[in-house]
Symmetry: C2
DNA sequence: TTATATTATCGTAATATTGCGATACGACAA
DNA sequence: TTGTCGTATCGCAATATTACGATAATATAA
């Protein structure tokens, strides 16, 4: 098969998994960190920054855009990327909520 | 290719990506939620709970064990699983730290 | 010992991801 | 218009993931 059976799980479970998948590659983590360290729009210098081919970098950017984590605005000939604050906050809260549900006090094994 | 070029990125970036990958499937989210909702060791009933085949469930459990998130202790004929508190806390802090680094005040696009 | 119950592993098929070269597309400059 | 620069998309190859049936491994029950 290969396709995950998303209909077996709740929307929340699928949402968390989808968000985690967007973060499940070091190149995408690097892109996000670069964007928020610069704290500004970044135009063009991501390819040199990452060390991956231009096509590969563009593909990772597309996935981050699909996940809603970043947005790109056309600035003349190039495109400027920055974080999407609302979605970022949403991710932050979803993960924080997921981790906080646990009561780790009781150990049983 | 298909293999990600982990040598291009920092250890922290690879760590976050690896942890995210462990959470990047709804079945694994469901397992973790079931474990912490029960707040106890769970022996055996995970297969009925998930609706996936026994082999598939076992495979997801193995990945969570490899990620360190859960631990299993042999209890007679069956195996009891529960969360690994220390690693869970580590995940929580790594993600929280990753999300907190950002300054979302300045929007530029 | 033999049977049964529970979990792990093997082998295989279907699909997804990662990466890159080649190429197309869009905006601007000459 | 023609050329150039920056980005996106296409097509392909290599590898990874997901899923399951079959089978092995282990512990207990009969």
């Amino acid at each position: 098969m290969g396709a995950s059976k998303s209909d077996l799980f709740t929307k929340q479970q699928n949402d968390i998994a989808t968000m985690a998948k967007a973060l499940a590659h070091p190149a995408r983590i690097a892109i996000l960190q670069y964007l928020y360290k610069k704290n500004a729009c970044v135009c063009g210098d991501l390819v040199e920054e990452l060390g991956l081919a231009q096509a590969t970098t563009s593909q990772h950017l597309k996935e981050l855009k699909n996940a809603g984590l970043i947005q790109g605005t056309i600035e003349g000939a190039s495109v400027c990327y920055c974080l999407h604050p609302a979605v970022w906050k949403q991710y932050q809260e979803l993960f924080a909520g997921f981790f906080k549900e646990v009561k780790l006090s009781k150990t049983c094994c």
